[in-house]
């Protein structure tokens, strides 16, 4: 079991998704428990993998039994294990949440397909995270992307247009990535990441390698919606069903960020990624622009989900910023922020889904007295919002702490200013909502009768509460997370 865990963590959701449809055709109600089983076993296996990595070092799993450069290898180190836990945890939480929300938002016939594709998406993301082969990463990237397109497309009535743009942008990104793989292949003849790490250093002067690096970064930047290639994201995440936005927002960009970190610091050496090319400068400024742009656009939105989507654009900026400054603190901050941001995003999007479920809309200006109707949900909203702003002791503070220390260490004062300024703008954006939901009396003047308590069903409430409380817990555990996982992921030379 323990040795096979890397293969099973991807095989189980895939196999369950294959039997999901025949089972669903017999009895539709069985899809949900099957999905829960699949995501839970992923979660369990991800913990086993993390345990193995922490206690007995990196895992190398040979698929098909072939040794690495020839066969495909799963190379799992601390970063992979860490990301696997994040994705499987989020997928489990969201799948628990999904039942009622999906029943409300989708046609009944589509529920079977929804769960199948959801599992495929989970498997795709886990596959990206586990693999140690660049081309295999592309294949799983495509599984995840296709599933992502489909899940976005079943959203509200403007979803198809958003999806189409998403498909076009996503395909460009994937093709650029594939080109990058091809260019590395033509100069090294290998696709294995560990092998490439050994083969590449003598070739750093080669133009092919430079261009490959550029294509990788641009391709991944499209996938993680880095400004100015973010155009697909706000539309797509706004019009997707709430469950989907929650999952996709929390994991898709983070997995992309993982791919970026892998390429920049494992496939290439940090010295090449950050010094040979002006990556630090370009990515740093692009990330700053992303933070500013995301926050400013978030302030201008009236749609809660759209606002969150723009904040996500800004958060991607944080992660990229931390990577680009090129020192230990910044990198730690980035990796920690991947965790924190996915939890904050999933929490906020799930809460938005809960609001949608009860109120039927999500216009910020028309949400009145929600704290009386759904006190627990809105309490969670406040915690998540505070964490987003980065107020201690919530999780969001600690990653920002490292990010800013990293920027200070690198003497990038502008980045520090941008980080703080965007925190401020996020604060403004959230307090706008808190004010209108908590303190604005209802406009239809029957406010005298206290609105009745009307919480969402338990299966939706529980994930929200769990994930939000975990924001606080993660805050306190930051040190341990860094000690046991993140500090081993910092590339050598930092």
């Amino acid at each position: 079991m323990k040795e096979q865990a890397p293969a099973l963590i991807i095989a189980i959701p895939l196999l369950i998704s294959f039997i999901n449809i025949p089972v669903g055709l017999l009895r539709r109600s069985l899809c949900y428990p099957l999905t829960i089983i699949a995501t839970f076993s992923c979660l369990y296996l991800s913990f086993i993998i993390a345990d193995t990595v922490i206690n007995s070092g990196n895992i190398s799993y040979r698929l098909g039994g072939w040794e690495p450069p020839w066969g495909i290898e799963y190379a799992i180190d601390h970063l992979n294990a860490y990301m696997l836990i994040i994705v499987s945890l989020v997928s489990f939480v969201v799948s628990v949440y999904s039942k009622k929300s999906i029943e409300k938002e989708l046609a009944r016939e589509k529920i079977i397909y929804f769960y199948t594709i959801y599992l495929l998406l989970v498997a795709g993301l886990l596959g990206i995270l586990a693999t140690g082969d660049l081309f295999n990463l592309f294949v799983f990237l495509e599984i995840a992307s296709l599933a992502g397109y489909a899940l976005v497309a079943i959203g509200d009535k403007r979803a198809p247009l958003a999806t189409f743009n998403y498909i076009i942008m996503g395909t460009i990104g994937a093709c650029f990535y594939l080109l990058g793989v091809g260019y590395l292949y033509i100069v090294t003849g290998s696709l294995n990441i560990a092998d490439l790490t050994k083969l590449l250093p003598p070739l750093y002067h080669s133009r092919v390698v430079l261009v490959a690096f550029a294509f990788f970064i641009v391709g991944v930047a499209i996938k993680i919606a880095l400004f100015p290639l973010h155009t697909w994201l706000p539309d797509a995440y706004t019009h997707a069903p709430s469950t989907v936005s929650a999952f996709v927002a929390a994991t898709m960009t983070k997995v992309g960020a993982y791919a970026m970190i892998r390429i920049m610091f494992t496939v290439f050496e940090p010295s090449f990624s950050l010094e040979t090319l002006p990556t630090t400068e370009i990515l740093g400024w692009v990330a700053s622009a992303a933070m500013m742009f995301g926050c400013i656009m978030a302030l201008a939105q009236n749609d809660l989900k759209r606002m969150l989507a723009y904040i996500l654009v800004a958060e991607v900026g944080y992660i990229v910023m931390g990577v680009s400054v090129g020192n230990r603190e910044g990198f730690t901050g980035s990796v920690l922020h991947i965790l924190n941001d996915s939890f904050m995003m999933v929490s906020l999007f799930l809460i938005t889904g809960a609001i949608m479920y009860k109120e039927g809309h999500r216009n910020i200006n028309n949400l009145f007295s929600l704290h009386k109707k759904m006190p627990i949900t809105m309490g969670c909203f406040i915690i998540a919002a505070i964490s987003m702003v980065g107020v201690p002791p919530t999780a969001g503070f600690f990653s920002k702490w490292y990010l800013i220390l990293g920027a200070i260490d690198a003497q990038k004062w502008f980045f520090v200013a941008f980080l703080l300024l965007s925190s401020l703008m996020v604060a403004v954006a959230f307090f706008r909502i808190i004010q209108s939901t908590f303190f604005k009396p209802s406009e239809n003047h029957n406010a005298h009768e206290e609105p009745l308590r009307d919480e969402v069903p338990f299966s939706m409430l529980l994930p929200i509460v769990v994930i939000t409380v975990s924001l606080l817990i993660i805050g306190f555990l930051s040190g341990q997370i860094i000690d046991s996982l993140i500090q081993h992921t910092v590339p050598k030379g930092f």
Binding site: F135, F138, V139, E142, L146, Y149, A150, A153, K157, R158, P160, L161, T163, F164, I167, I168, T171, I172, A174, C175, L178, L179, G182, Y185, I186, L191
Partner: protein, 134 residues
Amino acid sequence: MDTMDFIIGKYNYWIYIVLMMIGFYAMIAKNNFAKKIVGMNIFQTAIILFFISTASKTGGATIPIIKSEHLAAGAQAITAPQYLNPLPHVLMLTAIVVMVSTFGVALAVLMMLYRKYRTLEEDEIMAILKMEKD
């Protein structure tokens, strides 16, 4: 004639670059969504052409299927220069599948779009959306 050699020696690459640029341009700039899909297809095919080009081997290498005379001579006698590099072919088989899957999904979404707006032109859809908003 070094330059000439250089250009002719890599003509496959030039063609692939041209095709890729055509596809890429169509994907970004075309107003019609169906044309964007066509561009997507051209783009992906161009990348496949590039990969296949990397597999080529001069000096008598043949298609990567072991010939029966080599089989008869014993499996140990087979050497790499006798056959083309199979790895890019394998990768591209997968890429073609990915391509056709993306194509199918894009078509499905395109049909959803057409059901909704009865047009495939981006600007017309935008105009409809604007009208909906007002």
